[in-house]
Symmetry: C2
Subunit: 347 residues, 2 copies
DNA sequence: CTGAAAGCGCTTACAG
DNA sequence: CTGAAAGCGCTTACAG
């Protein structure tokens, strides 16, 4: 049996009101009473029930988070930043890991509502009609992180995926590549599927490079699919001299595949990934990546959500963060490396 | 203003008791009333408050989880398995990411108590006196996953770290290695620090191999420390022919370092890691690892905790899961590979 | 500065 | 089969 405020009051010889006041640090409690109450609290190991408190205050300090895949380094890193900001603001996270299971998501959104979470963070964009309707119905603030669903009414914290993808492709073109392959994502995803594909496509056409059907493939963002799609590309003959994969994981898969075919990265085929995950520095060759500011993304997501909860005027539309190309070994051409060395020697 | 049970009752023209009965699927409600109540619930978008329900039922369906580092693939994988089992049993996770911040942990344990979580899962073993006392004081079941703190009274779900480490070392010895380096963990950690070191040490001495001071180093389980410790080992001269690192991350760091020194893995130095993380299959050469059954560990942790919550007789002591050596390229000797090929050809 | 009472939104005996 | 009432453990006007 948990000790409750009544027990504390009785033992301290005061009213529950007074104990409550001490608990909440209110003024207007005589010092000796306060001291006595605190002593009893300590002695009894009393911890006030947030459940009861939430009920009367109509405030739970809970945030619901829906993660598509906890085992992914990208999402778990965002989550860790979200958690950091949340706990710094006395908010706690209720986390749901839906692995492709859309039913689980709907179930959890209901749980979130029943738990009276004060805000909801969603990190994937495969929103069906049922879920869309649900989100519109409830009056709990909802924010999307790293993704943007079709529905314009939802607010997202994202990078400009189109521009990022365009820039990554342009970089490869500027490096002198004529044929550039593409390993895209799920075309049902607006953000990471469609937008990134459009960026690639338009950069190619703006610079007069032709699209080769066999060099354009789509995976599921994971390592294995990068490997598989690269394999298909290679087996089609006359591979491109560079490949842009829209996730670091797929890029790593592609690198592994290329090397298993006794080709070299970047000498035979240069590779760029997307995300800026921990993998980039850890694989060999190190991976060039169009990086998203992952930690910032988590922090900003939480900060904006906190504002929405507080009822502050929400940002006008989405919050778009800066993307940044970080060049590493997987795309550094030999000539360029030689140039750099020469440059150094001359100084 | 959230709609509440009273609103539903009023609109349906019944008592709140009846609505409550419909909500909880009780029998003894006439079909027409039940239908009407359900229609009103639907119409109003009513979702019962778990807060109020928890208060009267004295049951929150909440589990508190303390993770040392969410961005680590090892912990986030365990967490995802825990989440899977929890949600399958109608339990929800309150997660706290303490990154080395012991104060944050204590704070969160208090939050867990105030939230009246029904069970607590802890995934690290740096328990100080304050935390130890706290855990003993509260009557909420606590379970440790993948680690075992000094205190014998706590129950853990783990592998036999000593034996696993002994076996990994013995494997290298059986491969013909005479000098085997070791990159250990934090010696303040019983499980992953002390036990793994003892396993290595005893295997070496049991097989008459001598310990070389310069070949024994300690890191913090992360990639960078594996790199750094390997570098120290190499710069000491006369490196070992094999190195056992007690985390896959450190093993990958070690491999990268070795290759940056223009040495080959496994030809010049063989490497074994520990954990069985996603990295093992993803790096090149692929990484031999003494694997923990990560997913099973998460599932069993949750299952045992559920039993503790239900008041079933707890397992007698710790739950020890099987470790398993998975041999990959980073430790496969050339001769052996040749043998295998020959073996295949003969068939 | 202190306390009695009402109320947060539910569930659960109890009575009918 | 249905409902009025008490109670879960707190906080918060209100009165003194």
């Amino acid at each position: 049996m948990q000790v409750k405020i009544k027990d504390v009051a009785k033992m301290a010889g005061v009213s529950v009101t007074t104990v409550s006041r001490v608990l909440n640090g209110e003024k207007y409690v005589k010092d000796d009473l306060k001291a006595k109450v605190n002593r009893v609290i300590e002695e009894l190991g009393y911890a006030p029930s947030q459940i009861a408190r939430s009920l009367v205050r109509k405030k739970t300090n809970l945030i619901g988070v829906i993660v598509p895949d906890l085992t992914s380094s990208f999402y778990s890193t965002i989550l860790s930043s979200i958690e950091e900001r949340a706990s710094a603001n006395e908010y706690h996270l209720l986390v749901c890991n839906i692995s492709e299971d859309i039913d689980k998501e709907y179930k959890y959104l209901n749980v979130f509502q029943e738990m009276r979470v004060e805000g909801i963070i969603i990190m994937h964009e495969k929103i069906n009609e049922q879920i869309r309707a649900f989100i519109h119905k409830i009056n709990t603030p909802v924010i999307f992180s790293s993704v943007k669903p079709m529905d314009q009414k939802f607010i997202s914290v994202i990078v400009d995926d189109y521009a990022a993808s365009y820039d990554a492709t342009r970089y490869l073109i500027e490096q002198g590549h004529e044929t550039i392959g593409f390993i895209g994502g799920d075309m049902r995803d607006v953000t990471s599927g469609q937008n990134r594909y459009s960026g690639y496509r338009n950069a190619m056409s703006d610079f007069g490079k032709k699209l080769v059907f066999e060099h354009i493939r789509f995976g599921d963002y994971k390592v294995q699919s990068g490997y598989d799609q690269m394999k298909e590309m290679l087996s089609a003959g006359s591979p491109p001299s560079a490949v842009f994969a829209v996730s670091d994981d797929m890029a790593v898969g592609a690198i592994n595949c290329i090397r298993d075919h006794n080709l070299r990265v970047p000498e035979d085929i240069a590779i760029i990934g997307f995300d800026g995950s921990q993998l980039t520095e850890l694989v060999r060759p190190t991976l060039t990546s169009m990086e998203q500011p992952i930690h910032q993304m988590g922090r900003v997501t939480m900060d904006v959500l906190l504002k929405l909860i507080a009822g502050d005027t929400p940002p006008d539309g989405d919050v778009v963060l800066e993307h940044r190309l970080v060049v590493r070994e997987s795309s550094r051409s030999q000539e360029r490396q030689a140039d750099e060395i020469k440059g150094l020697e001359q100084e």
